[in-house]
Symmetry: D2
Subunit: 337 residues, 4 copies
């Protein structure tokens, strides 16, 4: 890191900062300029945040040089992480499509959707049993009953199951049923939950928070990895901006950026990010063209009767059309689907 | 709500929407214009989100007319809510200052700060025992030991205690020690946590999420209130914007807006919002001038040795100066402090 | 539009609003509910903004139902606008690539780039003669000399020329040289400039403002169209958000949204939006997959010697690779390039 | 500045960067770490942006240490700039209130408002003769006729005149009538306009752009100052964020930040930033408490008949009440009004 001292600062203040750095195991390097004195410091980047250097007299600002994450970084592990669950791989050559309803609503609804998305090429079934809803008056999910239906759908179709967990007290229960545990956007920085999901030996789908920077998002993955679970799949799902025509703004640049900074696989959610079923198809294509390893798409047999997020769910017919488009995209990208 | 149908939509599609609304207990009102047909619907606003009307054929958009919250609204309860804990009131004529370190670091540090802020006029002591940190490598708090020190500080000084809880599994423990339970910005939409804190009969300090709209923030309060606890204090602490000179952008307009929409008390955190101790004093004054019912301020005996958020903590001397300014502000506003 | 009156409003205030609407040529429709009285009003949407209804006593809010633009809307003109300049079409089946340096730096540089991008398939040459720079100390462009070089490059290569104009006093001069006049992001709401470029009978490339909503962007196009020039090409170039890893956040959802709301062609600038040459290639592919009609890409023979925006300029080699990728994308999308 | 080289970069690439810096007059300083090699460079900060170092092979990023502005900086001129026009000072001990209608609508309207705001303590009259409107169908201002009315109002009341100019071709005309030239938010980076207003020897009121960082805003002031006019008044008027309850988000932290970084006076516009007359009063108080040197407030005799921005205009009665509040705030702040 670089510590920038204020103009005309007294030497003793520079010495104090230097001393604190050395005491904390940093090697330092002084650079006295006409306008500013800089102190370069090399050492354990994971500790610098606790030093409160900005609070020391004479310090103008502290500029980090290295990224604050390690295990998730491309520098630490140059090769792509490929997550394998049975014969399904995420992060390899094959593009994976996770599809299903926003919420598990009933046994019939779920089995119908499961069968339908499997036929059209999806390998993983999505569906919420615990739903984070902005309103306490909205449908909150079928809870364990929903998990049972998901397990039944897996048995019937061979699809893998991805479903959200929101509470540390429910992690063990959800892990009994799910193949992939989903951390929703609102919980990206729910640190006790990140530590808890790390304990079960299952892949974790980590959605980007609505206002999370790419760095904070990777740091959230680092929380899971440092607790012993390296099977993290990142999911871009839109960030909050001033534009309100779409529900959120899908940040597709994040896909190649993640590929540069990290070795973890990254997928895209074109349903929640746009909030409109009409935009799911072009954004699904666009995500693959940006280099995403997969997609998570909301499909509902009758979107207008969905208990949750109907406006962004696509019909089975539309889903077929999306899968055809993705085939062409896979060819263009030299990948399979 | 108003349902706007697409241009040139067939009558049968309008009928379908109308029928669904009526079946769900809404009274409807048709308005056929040259360019658009509108369906006005009056009924239980808390249910409309589950209707998925936007997913019905022919629907262009659905425009809510009424706010989605009820218990927290000024319409429901026109008089200001005043929360009383012992002889301390929040939301009344008196301005309350909560002050203390970002994190409880040691028994000595906490007792020293507690004594010092009490002398200068604070009635409530803040201090984190569980700390949500962006990095897994940063100091995470003293946990229950920290809570014990807080309880000891209360006994010694008579100050009330406000401290954060992050995990549903720790709510009962934190509630044993704290007078006010704090929900941090990152957990504003941690719905299981909101329901859990509602169960203990203690006031809740609900910080605004980094990218939460005012409406979503009030909805989070509604989650707590609908679960039976009406003692909610809202806390504006800055929102995330493109401006990076300050840590976040303090949205002081939110103070009079909350006062208009809701009866709940609202305080301001000038420390986390700005991230810079130099800005705490002007923003503290500014918050009171905007009509806030109180402040929560980070104070540390030696900010440069703080284990957490030192750069935004003020020294005891600076805190004295802030309290003098607030005295003048209270006079200008016709309030006491 | 819908005028929502406050709860418990007196009848005479409702009457006043109704009267004002009728006097201004609106047909009205009253809907008296239990909680709110609504006044629906149908009439000339272009005038409602001048009515200041929100300032009338008893009015809670005014909700527009129809979009405020007309000439640019898909409703007004259902078929795609295809702009033809010689044998080049923009907005049709063919994808157009505009390429060239950020700034015209010298005759040699420009001719070299022009030849090079033409060989690789571009039909339109970009290059700034007037540069809007954040710093007054940065290179501001070669001005008319730059325009002359652009004209020479056109003569030598047959490429069309697109270049920016920033000042109403320079519109006539730039129009003498350019085939397409570019309005930069910072000038999207420079209304005198929009009116001035409308006067010359040349296509206008209208970049989206950094913080412009899609609606405001279309309204800026409407300014040009209402002044008599219907040849407007929209260009998405990233919006300003909290994410600072990329220079701006490329909003690719805007592409299908524009296609739904308007008949105008839309292209994408992957260079300015990301600010990093490494991201230009994936984002160029992604833009085409989203349905864009073309791209505008910064190419420089030696980016590290560029006088402007070198970090986001691609080398000739990289540009070849991008064009190969775009070929595959065109096939996948059923278009030509 | 600090140039951060990529991990494991070859020495010759470091040498190339070093050479380029030296050739451009920078003194350099090498720091070879285990993980990164850094090149510190000291020299003319105003030129570094043209070096395109990020485009050189091996460079990871370039981190500026010094602010890119000079004339506007507090370092360059430690004392507050106080602008004097007749016996009115802006930036000194006295708080100045500029008030008047959004747009000049008629001679009668303007004279009535002028008289009224003067009586209540304003010294400067605001009023737009040229209006930047999002819609081409909205009222665009009375143009020169409006300027004449403003001049007449000055003669009758002794108030100074501040009014907006949007087009380089109109600067000379507006300067004939106005005492202070206003650059609106949409034109903050209209660089030809900034250079043009710098030429007339009159103070310039520079509004912050909707998505301008504080640094970009100061750089816009630098454009005016470098062209020879040092009489710049900065005006915070809200930034664009995700929050849509208010028209924009008033960034009051910007006030003390500007005071730290620059010597220029700074005022606040509580009308445009909030878009709601109810919020004008609390935000006006709040701005003064934050340290602002003045306010610019929209006042209209009958807001519901205003041709522009009625919803955010206050009535004469409300304006009286605001002025009373500001009196108390001035006392609390140790200033006069």
């Amino acid at each position: 890191m670089i510590v920038v001292m204020r103009t005309g600062v007294k030497e003793e203040l520079v010495d104090k900062v230097a001393k604190k750095l050395v005491e904390n195991g940093f090697q330092i390097h002084l650079s006295v300029g006409v306008e500013r004195t800089l102190i370069g410091a090399v050492g354990d980047k994971s500790h610098y945040m606790d030093l409160a250097l900005e609070a020391m007299e004479g310090v103008e600002k502290v500029i980090p040089i290295l990224a604050p994450y390690k295990l998730a970084s491309r520098e630490f592990k140059p090769d792509d992480t490929v997550i394998r669950i049975g014969d399904v791989t995420i992060g390899g050559e094959e593009i994976q499509v996770m599809a299903g309803p926003c919420a598990v609503e009933s046994r019939e609804q779920l089995l119908e959707v499961a069968e339908m998305v499997r036929e059209r090429g999806a390998r993983i079934l999505r569906g919420g049993a615990f739903k984070p809803r902005t309103s306490p008056y909205a449908f909150q999910g079928l809870e364990e009953k929903g998990l049972e239906y998901l397990a039944e759908a897996r048995e019937k179709t061979g699809l893998l199951i991805v479903t959200e967990v929101m509470d540390t007290q429910k992690v063990a229960m959800v892990a009994q049923y799910a193949d992939i545990l989903q951390i929703g956007a609102r919980n990206m920085q729910n640190f006790p939950l990140l530590r808890e999901v790390a304990k079960c030996n299952k892949p974790v789908l980590l959605k980007r928070g609505l206002s999370a920077t790419i760095e904070e998002w990777i740091m959230a993955a680092e929380y899971i990895m440092v607790s012993g679970n390296h099977q993290v799949i990142l999911c871009e799902r839109g960030i909050r901006t001033f534009e309100s025509f779409t529900r959120n703004t899908l940040d597709l640049s994040a896909v190649p950026v993640i590929k540069e900074l990290s070795h973890l696989p990254v997928i895209v959610d074109p349903s929640h990010s746009t909030g409109k079923w009409k935009l799911v198809q072009p954004m699904a294509r666009s995500a693959i063209a940006a280099g995403a390893d997969g997609l998570i798409i909301e499909v509902h047999p009758k979107p207008s009767e969905a208990l949750c997020d109907g406006p962004q769910s696509v019909t089975p017919e539309r889903f077929s059309s999306i899968m055809e488009d993705l085939q062409k995209m896979a060819v263009a990208m030299g990948r399979t689907i």
